[in-house]
Structure formats: C-alpha cells, structure tokens
Amino acid sequence: MQNSTCHQDIITLEDVSFSYQNQAVHKGLNFSVKERDFIGLIGSNGAGKTTLLRMIVGLLKPESGTIRLFGQPVSQFKQWDRIGYVPQKNSFNPLFPATVREVVLSGLYSRNKLFRKITKADQKKCDDALHAMNIEDLAMKRIGELSGGQQQRVFLARALINNPSLLILDEPTVGIDSETQEGFFHMIKHMHQHHNITFLMVSHDMEMIRSYLGQQPAVESGKLKFYKKHSHELQDCVENDLTHSLRELRQQMESRREVVTVGDLS
C-alpha cells in the first residue's frame, strides 16, 4: 500500500542537552522518530521524560543541540495542528468556567484558524472525539467537576480532535479505569496500524509496552529507554479521517462488550 514514503523523519534530536538552573537533565541526546513509528518511552521518576516531551513541543528550549519536527527546527515549525499533545498534568483553576465540550473544541484552535468561526464540521469532530473517549454524557459539565480520570479523557479527546499525524502522550492512561484504558490502547493500536499516525508515548505501563511493542522493558534508574515498533505496511482502512476510526472503534468496543454481557448470562 502507501508505504513508499514512510521513512520520513518526524522527530529528530541532535546532540540535545538540557538543564534546569543547575541540574543537568539531558546530555547529548540523539534519536529520531520516523513516520509510523510507535515509540514507548520508559524511565524512572525524574529521568527527564516530561522535560524531553516539553522540549519537543517547543515549551522548553534545549540548552544546546537541535530538535526538528517534520524536518524543520522547532523554532520555525508552523504546522502545529499536525501534533496532538497530552501533558502529564494539567493545572487549571478548578473553578474555571469551561465545559468539557468547550475544552475539547479548543483542540481545534490553532494558528491557521485565527479569525475562523467554529463550523458544523468542527462540532461534528467534537462529537466524535467525545464519543470515542466515552464522555458524551459529560459534555456540558464544568471541567473542574470531573474526576481526575475523566479529566484525562477530556484532554485525550482534545488531542485527538485535530486528526493529528503525530501524537505525543505523557502517561496518558494514568488514573483511567481499566475498561477505558483497554479501549484507549485498542484505539491507538488501530490508529498506528491502519492510519498514518506516529506515536511518542511515555508510559509506566510495562504490560502495554510488552504486549504491543513485543519487548520486555527494563527500567534503569535515571535512564531513558526507547522501545519501538514500526508499522511498515498500513492495513487497509476505509477512511482516512481519524474521527471515523474513533467512531468505528467505539462501535467495536461496544459490540465486544455486548458479547461479553451475553456470555455472562448464559
């Protein structure tokens, strides 16, 4: 299928170093993420995973070295709507008057959409993203009223709404119940295998890394480890739009759940 162009560099780090005030976190880091890679990033607490992701999305500047996104230095990169980023923690004011729907929709507000009104199509994307994360019922709730896991799902939906080609996830399933977590992994696997999406995911979920990436992860204190799976042959998928797959996956999940329920009865 469409595998001729798939070794384009999505993220490249060349000799990247970073320190906070006086504490060195990264020294001479080199690695690259290619199109359709799924990278699992493992490391002990304080190893610098979050710092690395924040550098990649341009929130922190490396002390030395270069980071490129889609071949362009981060400082010159413009196509931010190609990237979905879910930070490790969101520290918003719990009283903030914003509904779940408003937060998810805000994933669409980007540089190229300045002065543009929210369209019907945008609302539809929002519906799909809410549906995929199973939070339609919460859509009109104030975000601060949600539980931690529910909030995390909102931020996942916000990252997915843009149909990004690169998803950067910092411990995305922490605090999420196992059913939603399973659905989420199912969904990102599908996105990786059927759609042209590249992943960089920090996780402490060794089981997920082992089962999907096929490697036994080992944590070494203070060290970052990268585990990789490349999806060379994209399996056929009817549509290209990510939100389609969200919908489709939700249906799959639901039908599976029905099967289980029926099975339990007999």
Partner: protein
Amino acid sequence: MEILASDFFQRALIGGVLIGITAPLMGIFLVLRRLSMIGDTLSHVSIAGVALGFLVGVYPVAVGLLFAIIASFFIEKLRKTYKSYAELSIAIIMSGGVALASIMFTMGRGYNVNVNGYLFGSILTLNDTDLITIAVVTFVVLVAIRTQLKELFLLTFDEDAAAVSGLPVRFYNVMISVLTALVISASIKIVGALLVSALLTIPAACSLIIARSFRQSVITVVIIGELAVVAGLMIAGVWNLAPGGTIVLLLIAIMLILMLVKRGMRLGS
C-alpha cells in the same frame, strides 16, 4: 431627580454603560489567570499619568493611558523574567505609581485639580473628549474580543496548550495587558483609580460562582457589570455620592447574594 436628565449625567451614563461592558470582560482574563493584581497596579500607575498630565497641561486621561500601557509592558516582562517574584514586583510598581501621583498632585496644587474625582470617580467631570476616548476604547476591546475569543479562551485555560497549537502566546499576553490598560484608564474618571479594578474583577468572581461554561461567564460578567454601573450611577446622581463607591458596593452586594443563593441551593438539594 432632574439630575438624571442633565447633560453631564447623560454623558456619565453613556460612558458607564460602555465601561460596564469592557471592564468586566477584560476582568475575566485577569481573574481566571490569577492576575487580578494587575488591574490595581495599572490603575495606580495610570493615576500618576493623570497627575503628570495636569502638571504639564496635556489631556490627563491620555497621559494616564500612556503610563498604563508602558506599565503593562513592564509587568508582562517582569512576569516572564521573575516568575516567582511577580507579586513583589507588582506591589512595587503599584506603590511607585501612587507615590508619583501624590507628589505630582501636590506639586500641581495651584491648578486646583479635583483629585477626589480621579481617585473615587465622579459623574460631574466627564466631558465630550472623555466620552470619545471611552467609545474608541470600547470599540477596540470589543473588536479584539469578538474576533479572538476562542484563542483567548484557550490561552486563559491552558497557556501551554495555546503555545503548542502555535498561537502567538506572547502577543496575546501583551494584547490582554494593553487592552486592560486602555479600559482602566478610560474608566478612571467615572469609577476612580482606587476602585476601578473592582469593576474588572468582581463580576468575574461572580461568574466563577454561577457560570459553568466560558460562554455563560462572558454573558454573566456583562450583565452584572451593567447592573452595578447603571444602578450605581443613578444612586450616586440622586444622593450626590461618589459613583465609584456606589458601583463597587453594589458589585459586592451582588456577589454576596449570589454566594448565599448558591449556598442555599446546595443545602436545599
């Protein structure tokens, strides 16, 4: 009651209706980002500009406006560079502004300036130039908010996410500060430098009590702002009181009522 029909009161009322929209709107962005202090700081610096304007014989509101804009850039810079000391630097700028104002006002004693009017607000002193200034400021603020509301929402809710979406976060931060400076300087003659920040922050605080969506909070602050300004000006006009005081006391009363109602609803349910 004939005062309510008088020319100067009508002017104050039109001016009040306009700042009753813009001041609470800008307040949303300050309060939600926990930057309420900035409103106070800008108004205190602005009053120094007003004093200088009197001293050198230039339209005081314009000089106040200029001072507030310069201060807003300065605060934004300090906020970025000394994140952890931001509060301290804001306090220093604020007292610096008042100190400067008090000295310049006493230097200009010979001009017989109505200092009280600038500190506590007045319905007598608004002239046509002031009204035009307010109208222009209102227009600028409304255009900015109307066209950038969704971006401003994202920035206010999650500055990191706004940056990762490629929004020019720096530009928006400066824009918020400058618009706030404009609104504050334009409002000083009606509400008073000491009280104007309350007109920015209290409606926003009220909206935190009752609004569930950002949309609702935008609507709420404007309704509350208008209610307090119009009623406050009328009360001040009829009983010959300082309008800043009546407006702010009304705002506080509205907030207390909302808190009680909310509490009652929670107990009731």
